[in-house]
């Protein structure tokens, strides 16, 4: 397929506006010329019709009745008036009461369909082969000796009319062309100045350090602000993912170093031991360490997943009860601690929030794992609506987190927890990341009925209807 030489999609805005304005001007110009010509014709017509009428009235006024006969004493002034159209030939005829020509050109006839009995009427015709314009006026004679209507026809050719019409048209067109050119220049100027901010933005982005992902200057025209907003949003997301990636790498390195070093120490130890009993206990320790290292790795990965999904996964409307039910039914914790006696506590009404199912499941699983590990049975998974917010929570009968840990929730807490090889801090960190990714928070309460409750609190979706 041949490539299009000119594509509207990528052509310059200046070009587009110039094209649009030119099209507008051409169409407008055609309309203006038609209008100007019509106006010019009409103006010329009116001006010279008055001339004709004046001359005709002059001639009609020079008619008198002498001895019972109409006599036309043609005045020079009538012809001087007509001579104002200097190059036009003059036609006139005065028709008597009996329909015979009193004076003038016999061949001039009154059109049959002109009608009427008084006043003045204009009509178009020919005069010796040339287009001409005529006026007919009637003069009523009521003398004892002569009674009837005398018709006066005066006409002239159209040279002066056409010249005037053309002159008016030309002047109007000249003005139109002039203003058109001015508009075109103005349009180019306006487009140039309107698009200047884009150049500025492009330059400021191009001039940036490759690692600089801070927002671009938002002081731009409203239309460009949309673009800048999107750009800034995109850069913020990029920034978050980059730092998440950085954190993941450094956390993972940091967290794995200690357990791996411990494993190596155990293994070194085992190499130098001959005692079978001792060896077995070392192997058992190595096994325990490996298991907890595996769990740690799982959590690290799931946290990376959660952080990643929070930014990138598509959010959807979901029912928190489904999440609770899924976690409950998966029954992973039963493998860890069948004695915990996990229960489900959900209501009849759906609790709808905007979030991502796998992330939430991960958060709840971690909370459950914490409750089983550090709390006391029985453990409950529940969903409720509190203060207009959706809560998915995990409750146990223990005393809960020490207040210092509660206050230190966050990255540093995670770090310290990790450095201690404590996976519960990591679990809370995951829950916190999930809650924040979906505009929610992590809440810890100690209900009056006793025990400790950790909840992910998310804003409710507007229930429909």
């Amino acid at each position: 397929m041949p490539r299009k030489l000119f594509s509207l999609g990528t052509s310059s805005l200046t070009m587009r506006v110039a094209l649009a304005v030119t099209t507008l001007l051409v169409i407008g110009g055609v309309l203006v010329s038609i209008a100007a010509f019509a106006y010019g014709r009409q103006a010329a017509q009116e001006a010279y019709d008055r001339l004709l009428l004046g001359a005709a009235n002059d001639i009609a006024g020079s008619i008198s009745v002498v001895n019972g006969e109409a006599v036309v004493d043609l005045s020079t002034s009538a012809f001087q008036l007509l001579a104002l159209a200097p190059d036009d030939r003059i036609a006139y005829r005065v028709i008597g009461v009996d329909g015979r020509t009193l004076t003038g050109y016999d061949e001039l006839a009154v059109p049959k369909d002109l009608g009427g009995t008084s006043g003045s009427r204009f009509f178009d015709g020919k005069f010796t082969g040339e287009d001409a314009r005529y006026v007919l006026i009637l003069r009523r004679i009521a003398e004892r000796s002569l009674n009837g209507t005398i018709q006066v026809i005066v006409g002239h050719t159209m040279l002066a009319r056409d010249a005037l019409a053309l002159d008016i048209t030309r002047k109007a067109l000249f003005a139109a062309v002039l203003s058109g050119v001015a508009m075109l220049l103005l349009a180019v100027f306006v487009v140039r100045s309107a698009l200047k901010p884009l150049d500025r933005i492009a330059q400021s982005i191009a001039g940036r350090d490759p690692h600089d992902l801070t927002p671009v200057d938002p002081y731009v025209p409203r239309e460009a602000a949309v673009l800048i907003g999107a750009l800034n949003g995109f850069m913020a997301r990029l920034d978050r993912q980059m730092s998440a990636m950085r954190n993941l790498i450094s956390d993972t390195a940091h967290q794995l170093r200690t357990p791996v070093a411990a494993l190596r120490a155990q293994a070194d130890l085992a190499a130098g031991v001959d005692d079978e009993e001792r060896l077995r206990s070392i192997v058992a320790r190595i096994h325990a360490r490996s298991v907890s290292l595996g769990a740690l790795l799982d959590q690290l990965l799931s946290r990376a997943l959660v952080v990643h999904r929070g930014d990138s996964a598509k959010r959807e409307i979901l029912d928190l009860r489904d999440v609770a039910l899924d976690v409950f039914e998966s029954g992973d914790f039963n493998l860890l601690a069948p004695e915990a006696g996990v229960r489900l506590e959900i209501g009849e009404e759906p609790v709808e929030v905007l979030a991502d199912v796998p992330s939430l499941q991960e958060a709840v699983k971690n909370l459950v794992a914490n409750a089983i590990k550090h709390g006391k049975a029985p453990v409950e998974i529940g969903v409720s609506v509190e203060n207009g917010e959706g809560c998915i929570w995990v409750r146990d009968a223990g005393t809960g987190l020490p207040p210092s840990v509660e206050e230190a929730l966050g990255e540093r807490f995670l770090r310290s927890a990790v450095s201690r090889g404590d996976s519960s801090g990591l679990g809370l960190s995951i829950a916190l990341a999930v809650a924040e990714a979906f505009d929610g928070r992590l809440s810890f309460t100690r209900p009056e009925t006793g025990g400790f409750r950790a909840a992910v609190v998310l804003p409710l979706m507007e229930t429909r209807g």
Partner: protein
């Protein structure tokens, strides 16, 4: 000068009686026919004109000297006959002229208004002032004052009329010796006379007074410039009123019995009108001749023939001069159509007859 001119003329001169067959009203014929140039010249030009051959012939001669291979047939006509002939030519009559030049400019304006003329533009025609050009179909080529001619021997210098008022004063005494010895054109027979009288009537109120004086003193109305001037020369008339200046000056130059006055109250100035009929067979030749007439060479020839007269303080001005404001050029404009309006003409001629020859009944024939 005229003798040399005649010697240079080749071809033949034909005098034709004005009326070949008495009673045949429509019979029209040129007064004189003159052929210039070689008989076997490849190109030909037929000019019909009211200008006297004796005056205009030298202009044609001068033109032929610049243009080889051209033969010109010049027909001298009376203005009314020429008009009628041109109307015929316009409506498909036989043998149309290639160029018509007439002193009856009102008749020429009418011909142009009736679409009988051919349009032509050239640098020469564009140079003409607007008053001497109409529709690019009619051009004023000459400049001739309308003058009073008097007999030098019989009119004492103190009585020579400088204005129309002087003429009125001469005619006022009941036993004026000018009674019956003042002549002017018969406006019915002379298209030129009619035009002058019509122009006078538009120009000033003196015209009515003049007509009345002419009528009271039995002034003579006669035809044609030549008759008027001859009459003054031989003493039949003491004064001739409204004579075309070119002929008067031409005669006065060689005849010291004749004096010429340009009236100081106002002097009409006539420009003979040239038109190229739309039916002309040799239009391009006519156009070339027109350009010549309007060129500086042609203008010089016309001046030599006294068809262009210096009027106001110009170099070469002869005789008396008048102020520029007193000049009244008869412009080529459709206003002149009024002069040929049939009712207007009837009324004008009737009025002229009634006052001029009070006893004579009007015999105006409609045109």
């Amino acid at each position: 000068m005229r003798a040399t001119l005649r010697k240079r003329m080749r071809g033949w001169v034909l005098f034709v009686a004005l009326c070949l067959a008495p009673g045949l009203a429509k019979a029209r014929a040129p007064e004189i026919v003159q052929r210039f140039g070689d008989g076997d010249a490849p190109r030909h030009l037929l000019i019909r004109s009211t200008a006297d051959l004796s005056i205009f012939g030298q202009v044609i001669e001068a033109y032929l000297a610049t243009r080889a291979g051209l033969a010109v047939t010049y027909q001298q006509w009376g203005s009314n006959d020429l008009y009628d002939d041109s109307v015929d030519g316009c409506h498909g009559g036989p043998d149309p002229a290639d160029m018509v030049m007439s002193s009856g400019v009102h008749q020429m304006v009418k011909l142009v208004n009736d679409a009988c003329a051919r349009s032509y533009r050239s640098p020469e025609t564009e140079n003409l002032p607007a008053a001497l050009r109409w529709r690019d179909e009619l051009w004023g080529v000459t400049r001739e004052p309308v003058v009073m001619v008097y007999n030098r021997a019989l009119v004492p210098p103190s009585e020579v009329p400088r204005t129309r008022f002087d003429l009125l004063d001469l005619l006022r005494p009941s036993l004026s010796r000018y009674a019956g010895r003042v002549a002017t054109y018969d406006i019915e027979r002379s298209g030129l006379g009619y035009l002058f009288a019509f122009a006078d009537s538009r120009e000033a109120a003196t015209f009515g007074g003049l007509l009345e004086s002419f009528g009271r003193t039995d002034a003579i109305a006669t035809c044609c410039s030549a008759e008027l001037i001859s009459g003054v020369a031989d003493g039949t008339y003491l004064i001739a009123y409204n004579v075309i200046g070119s002929y008067a000056m031409e005669r006065a130059f060689g005849d010291d019995r004749i004096g010429v006055v340009m009236p100081e109250d106002y002097t009409l100035v006539l420009s003979r009108a040239v038109m190229i009929p739309k039916t002309a067979r040799h239009a391009s030749e006519a156009q070339a001749f027109l350009d010549y007439l309007l060129s500086s060479a042609g203008q010089t020839e016309l001046q030599r023939a006294r068809l262009i007269m210096p009027l106001v303080n110009e170099e070469g001005a002869e005789g008396e001069r008048i102020s520029e404001t007193a000049l009244r050029p008869i412009g080529l404009s459709p206003t002149l159509l009024v002069a040929l309006d049939r009712q207007k003409r009837e009324q004008f001629i009737r009025r002229w007859h009634e006052t001029f020859q009070g006893t004579r009944l009007p015999s105006a024939e409609p045109q």
